[in-house]
């Protein structure tokens, strides 16, 4: 099947899916999942370089092309989406609009795939909007706050999109083509730096808005935090990656190093790229600091997405071979980790109906599989071996240190250590600690819901130990973009990943960890067997105190003995009076409202006299100006 046929029929199928789901949403969800599986196999079967044509739009051919980048990004997206589709088969029974959810999810899939396949800017834009539109219609299916979230999401996304559109047409007007590779060629030979930089930044701004980079990051908190729970996984794991893709297109597919070679800023990185890197770094700081203080677990991970978007941008922005690969690989890592985390949260919310960390606790006793999935996901998110998250962070650090970008490196380190803090907060507050009394009858979610999490986590683990399959398309992508085409970073024959400064062997490291674990286990079994302390004693028997250290006090209500409010109080206190960018943007929105009020007050007064006045005034002004 040609790519164009696929995309068009996907969009059409999604509408059909609505009616199928209307009859029975379960069948719809299963069909969705099967379509997802088919898409994955389709993606595997396509060979790079395949082109396809979608049609003609105002004289421009809408072209699709299958590249390494398309393969990689589509695969990552589909992994996330298909998992969520599987997850949704059960999860949807807690939702109000399952039919619409199925429809828009499938339409969004089509849109995302189209974005990755697009060979020209306008095709990209069309599918981009399809993805945004359909996702925007899923967001308000959540709780009350999600309505506002949808609006914020739409506006923020649109602000980036329209800047992109402006940039695309500016490029078209100047170079007479919309094809990305053609534009790249023209831009390299274009002498005007100002125009090039404008086009570059305008194109990138869509990515900035979508992947939640600093000035346009605020929608993530509200949208990811309030969207239907399982869809947050798609939002954070997949849709945000559309932004990363556009950033990659504007930074790498248009070879920024060559285009802006006349404005080097620092260590061979052009000022334009450095500007993006600075934005990415700011996002890391904001994302990390804000994530640390969130009490709403979904918002917490939403802010972490802001921070991780920053990593991706920094990695890609350096245009260093290792940094670029790291940035691109981070897309995969963050996608999987965020998807699993959000699905785990969705499971928690599914059972407990709250997403406040301070109202939860001790769910490990009830939902151990969800807990384990979450645990491995955060290990990946925090960038700790043996999960795959470490590899990309390692690569990004290599690039930063190699380029001597110490301040950026500092921020990256800050974000990385900060990520330990914020991922630990839900771990401690939701899954560990004391189980509140009202959740004593909570059960583990059904296998349909935990299976996708387990699968994704396993993939992440396997890639963390044997990253070469995923590094292959990334290296291909790097070759396509001509970033150090001779350099080889992944050396699968020696099981090595080669950095500029030292290599490492993920298999060995995993084995060492395994050996360490085995030794520890042997030691563990050598010594006396422990006596079990039943942490659930107060739940099981009325009047049984909890049997842990309480300073000699008898505590019967475990809710009281749970530390999850203001987890990092000592640290949070240090920046509680921080300035808020979100408030600033809200002020901007308010400004437009007030402007409307003002306009209304001045020009649309409810009296004919005022109209007459304005008519007269206009006549006079126009005559005065024209004479």
């Amino acid at each position: 099947m040609a790519m164009s046929t696929l995309l068009v029929s996907l969009v059409a199928t999604s509408v059909v899916m609505y009616f199928i789901s209307k009859a029975s949403w379960k069948i719809g969800a299963i069909l969705n999942f099967l379509i997802g599986i088919f898409l994955i196999s389709y993606v595997f079967a396509l060979s790079t370089g395949t082109t396809s044509e979608l049609g003609t739009l105002f004289g421009q051919k809408l072209q699709l092309i299958w590249t390494n980048a398309s393969y990689y990004f589509s695969l990552v997206s589909l992994l996330v989406i298909v998992s969520v589709m599987l997850f949704a088969i059960k999860w949807l029974d807690s939702q109000k609009y399952p039919a619409a959810f199925n429809m828009f999810l499938l339409m969004m899939t089509a849109g995302s795939l189209g974005v990755f396949m697009a060979a020209d800017l306008i095709t990209l834009y069309i599918f981009w909007e399809i993805a945004v539109l359909s996702s925007m219609l899923i967001v308000p299916m959540g709780k009350k706050e999600s309505r506002k979230a949808a609006v914020v999401y739409a506006v923020m996304s649109a602000s980036g999109t329209y800047m992109y559109l402006y940039g695309a047409f500016l490029a078209f007007q100047r170079y007479g083509t919309l094809n990305i590779s053609e534009i790249a060629k023209h831009m390299v030979s274009d002498p005007s730096t100002g125009i090039k930089a404008t086009i570059f930044l305008l194109l990138a701004s869509a990515g900035i808005a979508k992947s939640g980079i600093f000035p346009l990051h605020t929608w993530l908190r509200i949208a990811h935090g309030n969207a239907p729970d399982a869809f947050s996984a798609v939002l954070s794991g997949q849709l945000v990656k559309l932004g990363s893709y556009v950033l990659m297109v504007s930074v790498a597919a248009l070879p920024s190093l060559k285009i802006f070679s006349n404005i080097p800023f620092y260590s061979g990185i052009p000022a334009t790229n450095y500007f993006l890197i600075a934005l990415g770094a700011t996002s890391i700081i904001i994302g990390t600091l804000m994530a640390i203080k969130q009490d709403d677990m979904k918002m917490l991970i939403a802010f972490s997405s802001v921070a991780n978007g920053g990593y991706i941008l920094i990695g890609i922005g350096t245009m260093d071979p290792i940094g670029f690969e790291g940035g691109v690989l981070h897309v995969f890592n963050h996608a999987l980790a965020a998807a699993v985390i959000f699905m785990a949260f969705a499971s928690v919310v599914y059972r407990t109906h709250t997403k406040k960390i301070s109202e939860l606790g001790g769910l490990i006793h009830k939902m151990p599989i969800t807990f384990l999935a979450y645990l491995f996901a955060i290990i990946s998110l925090a960038g700790i071996p043996p999960m795959s998250g470490f590899i990309s962070k390692w690569m990004i650090y290599q690039a930063l240190v190699r380029k001597g970008m110490f301040i950026t490196a500092f921020i990256a380190f800050f974000g990385s250590i900060g990520s330990f803090l914020y991922v630990f907060r839900p771990l401690a507050g939701v899954f560990l600690g004391q189980l509140p009394k009202k959740y004593k009858d909570v059960k583990e979610v059904s296998p349909i819901m935990w299976l996708p999490m387990v699968i994704l986590v396993t993939i992440s683990l396997i890639i963390g130990i044997w990253p070469f399959p995923i590094l292959k398309p990334i290296e291909g992508m790097r070759m396509d973009f001509g970033i150090a085409p001779t350099m080889k970073i992944a050396d699968s024959s020696h099981w090595l990943i080669k950095g500029f400064a030292g290599n490492w062997n993920p298999v060995l490291v995993f084995n060492l960890f395994l050996i360490g674990f085995v030794i520890a286990y042997i030691l563990y079994t050598l010594f006396p067997r422990p006596k079990k302390v039943d942490l659930l004693a107060p739940h099981k028997k009325e009047g049984a105190p909890i049997n842990i250290y309480t300073g000699g006090e008898f505590i019967y209500n475990p809710d009281l003995y749970q530390y999850n409010t203001k987890f990092y109080a000592g640290f949070e206190r240090m920046y509680e009076k921080h300035p808020s960018w979100e408030k600033l943007l809200e002020m901007l929105a308010k400004f437009f409202y007030d402007l409307g009020e003002w306009v209304h007050g001045w020009f649309f007064r409810p009296s004919p006299s005022a109209y007459t006045f304005w008519v007269t005034l206009t006549i006079l002004i126009v005559f005065w100006v024209r004479w």
Partner: protein, 114 residues
């Protein structure tokens, strides 16, 4: 001179529209503007020492150049008719406005929000 009068009349009409609180006076002002425009139109057709634009052998010294322009008068007729129609509609609307909002003074009208 006549142009001046019509322009002054237009000004008066606009002044009336801008300053009057009573909606009926708005209609009056509008009709003043109408009239002013009509005067203006008629005035454009004026040719000094012109003759009635009628072909006839009875008059001596007949020359098309000395005709006044007949067309503006025809236009004015139409314009007047339309103006009257407008006024009638406005007046009838005002009756209903008075019924609904209990006044035709802009400041005293009830239920006129946004």
């Amino acid at each position: 001179m006549v142009y001046g009068i019509s322009i002054i009349l237009i000004g008066i009409g606009i002044y009336g529209l801008m300053t009057q609180k009573n909606l009926f006076k708005h209609i009056v002002s509008l009709s003043i503007i109408d009239t002013a425009v009509n005067i203006f139109i008629v005035a454009t057709g004026y040719v000094s020492n012109g003759k009635a634009p009628i072909y006839t052998r009875a008059l001596p010294g007949f020359s098309p150049n000395s005709f006044v322009d007949p067309l503006p008068q025809a236009l004015v007729l139409t314009a007047i008719v339309i103006g009257v129609g407008t006024l009638a509609l406005g007046a009838s609307l005002l009756v209903r406005v008075k019924e609904k909002h209990s006044s035709i003074n802009v400041e005293n009208m009830k239920g006129v929000g946004e």
